[in-house]
Symmetry: none
Subunit: 213 residues, 4 copies
DNA sequence: CATGAATGAGTATTCATTCAT
DNA sequence: CATGAATGAATACTCATTCAT
């Protein structure tokens, strides 16, 4: 993977723009470049110079926007985590039945990544880096899992699903979601629908389900 | 996590023992120490000195057994992958039905990790490091997935399960497996049975299954 | 020592005041802030941002008044050196005897620092930084030493003191002066009299002098 | 001052020496080079590369012997401080009178630096760097001053010198010592005797003393 | 084979200074 | 003049790997 030869995305002097606008541009350029570098080589192997090189900015400029390499990463993960969780909350909040609750959740999740392949690549490559949204110990994942769990508990109390082990069920849903995004991404066009349908039917009827049922 | 203060596990001088035996000892000591260090801090953050320090050997000795840090890691992953795949093959080969095939597979998988917590910690901490058995691109995972897939295809051809998307199903099984090991490990004693039952029922009947059915 | 949290001393916008007055204000604010920062952390560890932060001005403004960090330092040292030498000259010029000459010199020196603790702190912390008034190679010190030396030579020619090694005597006077300011500053209130008396008697009679003699 | 073009002093491979011997050589080479670089440009401006370049060793080798730039400096200062204090103690311990006590102290002090010009250069250039033997806050200086002070107190109790301000007297002796080393070093050959005589007479009789008295 | 000192390329971060606004 | 974002050279320190003993 040749990082060095990549095309510059930042805008440097841009003499003529407003100050504030330039600041936004640079910050975004750094975040964007970072997303991609982290996705390509992982947090550990990423150097600040890799990131900044893609923006066309100077080394020092990086530190005008972020305190450290860790800080950009955290910022990225936080943003992704909150966006994704917001989408999931929204998707679930109006679900009239457990079936639809499950379906809407998977759809929101798959759709988000289908729309942000670079973010997915980054998350996938950094599942286990401390703080990653998908790493088992990250705050964002904990929060997302907790929200999911709460909703499932409610469904159990309402009697719409049997009283299963709540931790196992929550974990299984997350596990299936994660493994199916990968499959979705492997296809020529990332279409959320097939995986959404598959995951939903799996959780409702198991692998022995019949498409026509 | 204080790496430095750990107890030495290797056998140092012992000059005078049978050479061949000594070689095995040192090689194993390195592999063992590496498993744990990789599990504690991840491949990227692991230094060769961290590993060798735990063996009581000298730095240079490391390179008498392995070409590089990468090489120990690959060796470890290869060994784990092959062991695990062998167990899975064995578990499945005599399955008389799809139900039992699924159950036996999960049981073998969960049992292996229940017996090798340190290996699991290492795998979990390095899912995405290039070459990891669990990373989506690793040879071992590819091989394991392929074997699973082949068996599922057979089941479909035999009509024991509906004609679902084979890639999706394979991925879902792996995803659930992985997410449930984590749950198993979180419990005071790592018992493969509860998770095996849960996963099996999930794949046979979905989340709406009834324990008594 | 927390530099960052210090109170701002400069006058910032005040746009609309007389320009010339503002210029003076800013320049003085920078000099004042610099004196204190140099005294607290030393020239080497002082950053231009440390200085400017205390003035409430913007980074770039610093360079409207001084060419470099070195330049403020030199400016400060020059100012201190000239003030101090002027005081010393004044003190000596009317000395009717060697006794009084010595006493007046010490008094002027000690009094100056007693009145400008921040300046002393700065000098003390930067004795050896190139250019410091107190560093052995600085122009200001050279000049001060030369003036002292000239007066002592005169005293020798006049026969009021024995023909001692003139360099040694000059150096000794300076050395005692410097080491006694430190003592003066260590006391709760910086009183020039006790050290002046001590230094004077030492040079007139040696350590075996009797206070009542 | 051109640091870069300096002659290499370290011995690199020296294949054929004993291991331990080589270790000593390298450590000493680093200490020696550091003494000189610190003396030439001061601690702050000294870079580890400046030091290591003079030894002919590799960058990393520095860190096999010292933890940091600070550590070499501290090590140097500690060694100088202890050596110097030991010499001073030895010089004083057998002094039969205050006159001889003073004379012996000065002689020991001046002699030490006359014999170690590079050490003096380093001390002089780093008087105020934290930890310096000569910096007012350093442990070594504190210790040296304390020892001197204790002996002077004894002399006062014994009635050999008048009851002067002990802090002032101690400081004055140190100040004269320091300013006279500088004078000694400025002469073509660093001869401890003239300055010793001068300093002794000054403290015994003041500047008005008569050489023949 | 074992040892462990030596190597030196590689990286995050700082900071004096510039310059467009 | 004031502003403060941009610049990029510079530096301490790490660590995988080598190799003389």
């Amino acid at each position: 993977m040749n990082i060095k030869s990549d095309i510059v995305e930042g805008v440097k002097p841009l003499a003529g723009g407003k100050r504030g606008k330039q600041r936004e541009n640079n910050r975004d350029a750094i975040l964007h470049a970072a997303t991609r570098v982290f996705g390509e080589v992982g947090f550990g192997a990423t150097t600040v110079r890799d990131i900044i090189r893609r923006t066309g900015l100077a080394t020092g400029t990086f530190y005008n926007y972020f305190d450290s390499k860790e800080a950009v990463f955290d910022s990225l993960v936080l943003q992704v985590g909150e966006t994704l969780r917001a989408r999931l909350r929204e998707a679930r909040v109006k679900a009239p039945s457990f079936e639809i609750f499950i379906e809407q959740s998977f759809r929101a999740y798959f759709t988000y990544y289908a729309e942000h392949r670079d973010v997915y690549m980054m998350m996938r490559a950094n599942q286990t880096h401390n703080g990653s949204i998908l790493g088992p110990d990250s705050d964002q994942l904990q929060a997302g899992m907790h929200e999911l769990r709460t909703d499932i508990e409610q469904a159990m109390r309402d009697g719409v699903i049997p009283e299963l082990d709540i931790d196992f069920l929550t974990a299984a849903i997350a596990g299936v979601g994660f493994s199916l995004v990968e499959q979705m991404m492997l296809r020529p066009t990332a279409d959320p629908e097939p995986v959404t349908q598959f995951a939903t039917l799996l959780f409702l009827h198991g692998a022995k389900f019949d498409r026509n049922s």
